[in-house]
Symmetry: C2
Subunit: 409 residues, 2 copies
């Protein structure tokens, strides 16, 4: 176990974030993950990191705050917090986010407070998020188990047993065996994803058409100068990093106004501490017109109306149905894993790297190229075993991309 | 145990900090103390707290930073951190500090880094500390066990056993039994301390003379308008609070230039993560002229030279040798407890409340009244079973204050 944890910490610092000598690192971690956060910090200092700054989080206190704090605190973000994030972004500090949360932590919380807090945060940290989306600094989202999360994934098991089993699942998903060769396996895996991107990029696609037996029938137009990305990204200074570990997807941005049809989710979606299940959207001219959910509909409606851009789409991502994480047949209730088990879409902000030269464009220029702008970016899963995706090129040719849930290119 | 913890959390919030409806609370806590920090947060919300903000700390990461971060980070404090503290002080947020640390956490760390960090912090947060010392907001230092600390107090015991035993000692020291009457016991105890203050204040003392068999022979002049304080303090808005739980002391400020002689420490002193043992100071005209320590002398020399005022004294505190904590015959290696088991002195900053009207005086005015100014304030213990303290009044009369380690007034 110790060997696996060490290998994991090194993978995150040396490959995920690719921390450079003299660079700062900010680690955002639940207090329960202190021992692993310390390992990451040690690995960072070993890699020449200038300083590690911790941003500790705690689910319990987050919930207490939503339940009991004064109402006005959800409408503002303290000036010092904005300053912290701006200082980090401007200095190019690497950002490691250890994603581990009780998926239902905010069950029963006043949705209005959550939405207002999200709006206030999005507004206050707009510049930080813009720089993050534009890869101005390396960032990496990774995970480790905490009991409340493990209990949701393995409802039958007690705390420690669930945590152990979730560790096994995570290590398998991120190619960690403790043999010291995780970095080599990752390089090989990234090559596969980069090759897929090259093929997609060579197709010169105008649009994609999704259908499956859930009822999905969706057409998605792509910007003329769209780029398929995946595997590693590069910071604006040219340093490669991996924004998500695991990552199995290749992705691009849709044309903001160019999505029409119906799309059914294929997995539950954890939306700000609430689990949304059995949902679908009706979309016209790129905008979500109808929201239907068997469970968590209020949270979902709130999520797609947090600002003007939240009801439009920012990402189209392709993941084979027989990808390693999907083959685990495990519902993680954690977007980082679930999105890498399934084709997915995201409503909200698009990634600038998804159009040629996008990372150096202003918000206005990105908008002119058809990319969506929002303070949110939420992935939800649409892939199934019978998903068909057919591309249409600018030349008018039809190209099968996915047949029965998997790539055919 | 649960009942004791709940009683403790309520004592800190309702009596220690006396959190008012609509007031913010900042809790500074080691990550290991998360469960108790959460209890305190819940108690605060129950008392009408507007918002609880956490400042998590971690000994391990603090040590890693001192060992491995780039050298220049110890000379500055980020602007956002200064802004955070200033916002807290200006809004009158209550401050709870959960003191729990490995006493030797910084053993072997470059002392120069520690000193520079202390100077940079003291400089950046000067206004915050000034407002804290002047009771512009309620603050309370309390403690809970963590394994690294418990191991030092009970060297023979394993982690959990040591922690349990340290909990017992702490609960006893702070009058918590789990019977729900801790608040009543505290009110009674505060009355005792206040009565002692009244007596000392009525004596109109000009100076104190300390002697014991360790070799201490020290005379301490007091400002003409000095005030003996103890038990609860009051914020500048008039709200009572208790700055330390436990507290057994009554204290005042010495005249900055009016201390002469030799003083021997009666207990080890934990000085920024290093334990200093068997030490004494030679003092002339209020200034420490000689520093001698059998162990940790470098750390001690650094502590008394962090700035110009660090080599002069800021506090004179009286604690009976037969006080409850002293009777535990336990060395806590934690100033909060050890200082309340023994008469002590502090080098560094004086408390403005220790002279009449001091809380509304500027630094310059306090200095004109003979109070010491520094970015540091470090208590060290001088009480012994045979300590004699004789007062001399402005009228020239000699008044025995302590005989054989205990009050005789």
């Amino acid at each position: 176990m110790e060997a696996k944890l060490q290998e994991y910490a090194r993978l995150l610092i040396e490959v995920g974030l690719n921390v450079q000598k003299g660079q700062d690192l900010v680690i955002s971690s639940p207090v329960e993950c202190a021992s692993f956060a310390r390992m990451c910090a040690k690995a960072a200092y070993a890699a020449g990191c200038r300083e590690v700054v911790m941003r500790w989080r705690d689910d319990v206190l987050t919930r207490e705050r939503y339940l009991h704090a004064a109402d006005e605190v959800f409408d503002t973000v303290p000036q010092w917090q904005r300053m912290f994030f701006d200082e980090c972004a401007q200095s190019g500090a690497a950002s490691l986010h250890i994603a581990a949360a009780d998926p239902e932590n905010l069950l029963g919380v006043d949705q209005d407070r959550i939405t207002r807090a999200q709006r206030a945060g999005g507004e206050a940290l707009r510049e930080y998020y813009r720089l993050q989306m534009a890869n101005a600094f390396p960032w990496c989202v990774a995970a480790m188990p905490i009991p409340s999360w493990a209990e949701k994934v393995f409802p039958g098991l007690s705390g420690d047993q669930g945590v152990d089993k979730l560790w096994d699942a995570i290590f398998s998903a991120i190619r960690i065996t403790g043999d010291g060769h995780a970095v080599d396996r990752w390089r090989e895996h990234l090559d596969t994803l980069h090759r897929r991107c090259d093929i997609l990029n060579s197709l010169d696609l105008e649009s994609l058409h999704y259908t499956n037996s859930l009822g999905t029938d969706l057409s998605i137009c792509l910007p003329e100068d769209h780029v398929w990305c995946g595997g590693s990204s590069r910071t604006t200074k040219g340093v490669p990093f991996i924004a998500n570990i695991p990552t199995e997807e290749i992705f691009t941005a849709p044309l903001r106004d160019g999505i029409d049809g119906v799309v059914y989710a294929s997995m539950p979606f954890v939306c700000g501490g609430t689990v949304v299940e059995d949902f679908h959207f009706v979309i016209r001219d790129g905008k979500i017109r109808e929201v239907h959910a068997a469970k968590g509909e209020e949270a979902l409606r709130a999520a797609v109306s947090v600002d003007e851009g939240a009801c439009r789409f920012g990402e189209v991502a392709l993941v084979p149905y027989d990808s390693p994480i999907s083959s685990q047949k495990l519902l993680y209730y954690n977007t980082l894993f679930d999105e890498n088990a399934s084709c997915h879409l995201a409503f909200g902000e698009a990634y600038p790297e998804c159009i040629k030269g996008g990372e150096s464009m202003s918000k206005e220029e990105l908008s002119e190229h058809g990319l969506n702008d929002s303070i949110t970016h939420e992935d939800f899963m649409v892939g199934t075993a019978d998903l068909q995706i057919t591309g249409r090129t600018w030349g008018g040719a039809k190209v099968p991309i996915f047949v029965d849930g998997n790539f055919v290119i």
